[in-house]
């Protein structure tokens, strides 16, 4: 029932929505038309339904085998494009289109009245189409094309409010930093292409790895390139500092891009090329980067004042978890965490938007006491935060726990190191999430947007951007509905899709089994029919009570500490900040990474040394070469002109000499 054409339709519908919105609605109806919203929502709803149908098909029939189509065939260059619909794809399709659908519905209310409403929905459709295309790609070059498209859409959406210089700068920063990672990605692709151009096709690559055709060194270099791209796109250390700045875009954009979809593209890439990574030597590096990022970002989230930035750091940290999982070989737990994280993080971001709607600011120091005014948002965010902190029996618990359990099970040094890092990050995650919750919803109302502006004026600081009037009260249903739906999913989807025991008709570890054992291309069965490879990748993890216990205790400790500091007031945050002043400053300034990149790398290194050197070279050598060349030509011409002295007899001599020369040539060489 689900044919190739229908799968193409999953991409085609958002693209059609983008074109209709961009060309027809924008031009003829206006830049603030509600029809844009309807069209995008309808298209993405269609994609979602088709994605569910595809998931159903893949669940029952296995990977869809679809032929590749020829794309470019010039000389020795033979590129194809096509669809790869395996288990991983089907899961990602549902996640991307589902979260996108909810965000679009939310966006209709959030962006209501914005003067570029149409443009917003156009770009949202473009982004969704790009992301769907990315997960459906069968060919590495095709992945790269959609990867870049995702980057472009992200740029357009982050810089959506173009008249704010900070937004434009943030969009540029995001694009450039991810581009830097993409450079590594491209090098990896080219290297792989140079080894064998048929490796561009992913199933062919899987097969080649399985038959040990690909050398470890080749796999290592290629994986390093792909890892560079993933680091850029998923904001891992060291290319992480674009993500907090990217919060300049509308909150719904952050909900879609920076929680569920674009940033997970990096994790998706590593998962897609999991056999290649396993075959290479970079797995430890992946795990360490992931673990380091998890802790690193969590520390910055502890002291942030802007609620969206807290969520951004949280995203980076959770992505670190996913990378960590992939690095220790826990494929299924990583995908599981990606899937659950999408739901609760999206819920949190949408909730933050709702909070902004009510309080007029994003700065948590000016909020407080909103619990009475917006109970639904409050409960939604609390549930999502509990899930994020990893409390039994919510989704986050299961997925995070499996990752940590697998890390413990692997037993290598790297595994132990990242286990400890993961546990530390879990403690910090719980703390900062609940600090955010308590500052926002509990306590007393501290004035909101208006007060923040007043304070800024008094202190002579520039006015904070994006502030609006606060109007207490719950946000409209279009906004609250998705939040609540996502919160419900955040409760239950974890357990019910991947239970540790058989629950009714759902088999034990159904999800893990689905993405590993049933994916024959990536995890081929052994000769005797067993599936040891899949088991290594987390097909059927045993429930590790010790780890589960430790992580729960840490989560509760974090929540408790936050409670003590922000509700009871037993420990004063200011006093703690003063005692650890140097560390506090370091973290608050984001470890001075921005300054490092901006001043040292760009200004000193690039501008001064590289660009100036090239300019000197250009002026002194190349321009000079030009000038000298033209002088030389001119001089030759002038000396040539001396032959023309106007004397007829000179010309006659010339003729004579010429004739003699020709005759001599004939005589001598006849």
């Amino acid at each position: 029932m689900v044919t190739e054409g229908l799968v193409w339709l999953i991409i085609a519908l958002p693209i059609a929505a983008m074109l209709v919105n961009g060309v027809l609605v924008r031009a003829f109806i206006g830049s603030n038309s509600p029809y844009a919203g309807y069209i995008t929502v309808a298209a993405i709803a269609g994609s979602f339904v088709l994605s569910l149908m595809t998931l159903n098909k893949v669940m029952s029939d296995g990977t869809m085998h679809i032929e590749s189509h020829d794309w470019i065939a010039i000389g020795g260059l033979n590129l194809t494009f096509g669809l790869l619909v395996d288990q991983l794809t089907s899961i990602m399709l549902v996640v991307v289109s589902g979260v996108s659908l909810l965000v679009q519905i939310y966006g209709q209310a959030y962006m209501h009245g914005d003067k570029s409403y149409t443009r917003y929905f156009t770009f949202m459709a473009l982004f969704t189409a790009s992301m769907i295309g990315l997960v459906l790609s069968r060919n590495l070059i095709q992945i790269f094309v959609f990867w870049e498209l995702v980057g472009v859409s992200s740029y357009l959406l982050i810089g959506f409010w173009m008249d704010r210089p900070s937004a434009a700068a943030a969009a540029k920063k995001a694009f450039l930093m991810t581009r830097f990672g993409d450079f590594g990605f491209l090098l990896g692709i080219l290297y792989l292409y140079s080894r064998n151009s048929s490796y561009m096709d992913i199933p062919t690559l899987y097969h080649a790895i399985e038959t040990h055709e690909v050398a470890v060194a080749v796999a290592t270099w290629a994986s390093l390139g792909l890892l560079a791209g993933a680091i850029g796109k998923s904001a891992q250390f060291p290319l992480h500092n674009w993500l907090p700045d990217a919060m300049e875009g509308p909150t719904s954009v952050s909900a879609l891009i920076h929680s569920a979809t674009m940033v997970t593209a990096g994790v998706f890439l590593v998962a897609r090329f999991f056999p290649l990574f396993e075959h290479s030597d970079v797995m430890d590096l992946v795990a360490l980067i992931g673990g380091l990022t998890a802790v690193f970002a969590a520390t910055m989230g502890l002291v942030a004042n802007d609620i969206k930035r807290v969520l951004a750091y949280s995203t980076v940290s959770q992505l670190g978890y996913m990378m960590l999982a992939l690095g220790v070989g826990a494929y299924a737990p990583a995908i599981f965490h990606l899937y659950t994280h999408a739901f609760f993080k999206a819920a949190l971001f949408l909730g933050a938007g709702s909070v902004h709607h009510a309080s007029g600011t994003f700065n948590m120091n000016y909020m407080g006491g909103l619990k009475q005014h917006m109970p639904r948002t409050y409960w939604g965010m609390v549930i999502a935060s509990l899930s994020l902190a990893g409390l039994f029996p919510l989704s986050g618990f299961w997925s995070k726990d499996e990752i940590l359990a697998h890390a413990a099970e692997v037993g290598t040094t790297t595994g132990s190191v990242v286990l400890v890092l993961g546990l530390v990050a879990a403690l910090m995650t719980a703390f900062y999430m609940f600090r955010a919750i308590f500052l926002t919803f509990h306590g007393e109302w501290k004035g909101g947007g208006e007060k923040e502006e007043q304070d800024a004026e008094e202190q002579g600081l520039p006015a904070p951007v994006g502030n609006a009037h606060s109007h207490f009260g719950e946000s409209p249903w279009l906004m609250v509905g998705p939040i609540m739906l996502l919160a419900v999913l955040a409760i239950g989807i974890g357990f019910f899709s991947n239970p540790v025991i058989d629950v009714g008709s759902i088999d034990k570890h159904a999800f893990a089994h689905y993405v590993t054992v049933e994916n024959h291309e990536v995890f081929p069965h052994d000769a005797d029919g067993g599936h040891s490879k899949a088991d290594h990748a987390g097909a059927a993890p045993e429930f590790n009570s010790i780890i589960a216990g430790i992580s729960t205790v840490l989560a509760l400790a974090g929540i408790g500490l936050a409670y003590l500091m922000y509700i009871r007031g037993s420990i004063s945050p200011e006093a703690m900040g003063a005692r650890f002043q140097p560390i506090y400053n370091l973290i608050f300034r984001k470890y001075y990474f921005d300054e490092l990149y901006e001043n040292v790398v760009v200004r000193r290194g690039f501008y001064k040394y590289l660009a100036d050197a090239l300019r000197w070279f250009d002026e002194h050598w190349i321009d000079n070469a030009n000038v000298h060349l033209s002088n030389w030509v001119s001089r030759i011409g002038k000396s040539g002109a001396l032959v023309q002295n106007g004397q007829t007899q000179t010309y006659a001599i010339g003729m004579v000499v010429g004739v003699v020369a020709v005759v001599a040539a004939f005589l001598l060489w006849g």
Partner: protein, 116 residues
Amino acid sequence: MTIENVLLVSGALFAIGAYGVVSRRSLVTVIMSLELMFNGVVIAAVAFSRFTPAAALLNGDPLTAEAIRSALTGHAFAIFVTAVAAGEAALAFALVFAMYRASESVEITDAAEMKN
């Protein structure tokens, strides 16, 4: 008197004429040297027709009047060249007069307006 000797004489006359064209200052003398060159060429043509049998006969064509007459091609050439040289000498001197009238001098070195 073999053909080579006659050609030698013709060549010498041509060379002397060439020397005169290139190294005389007065335009009139240059034209005179030019006429010498013409003569040298014509001598060669006539020599060819005297010493070389008709081309048609050499090819083995049958003996016809035209074939025999073709031995006189050189003479016809000479007639035409003489006619042309006469006309050309007349025009050349007309040019010399015109130059004389315009600038009072008939030295070639003064006719250098096309310099560079």
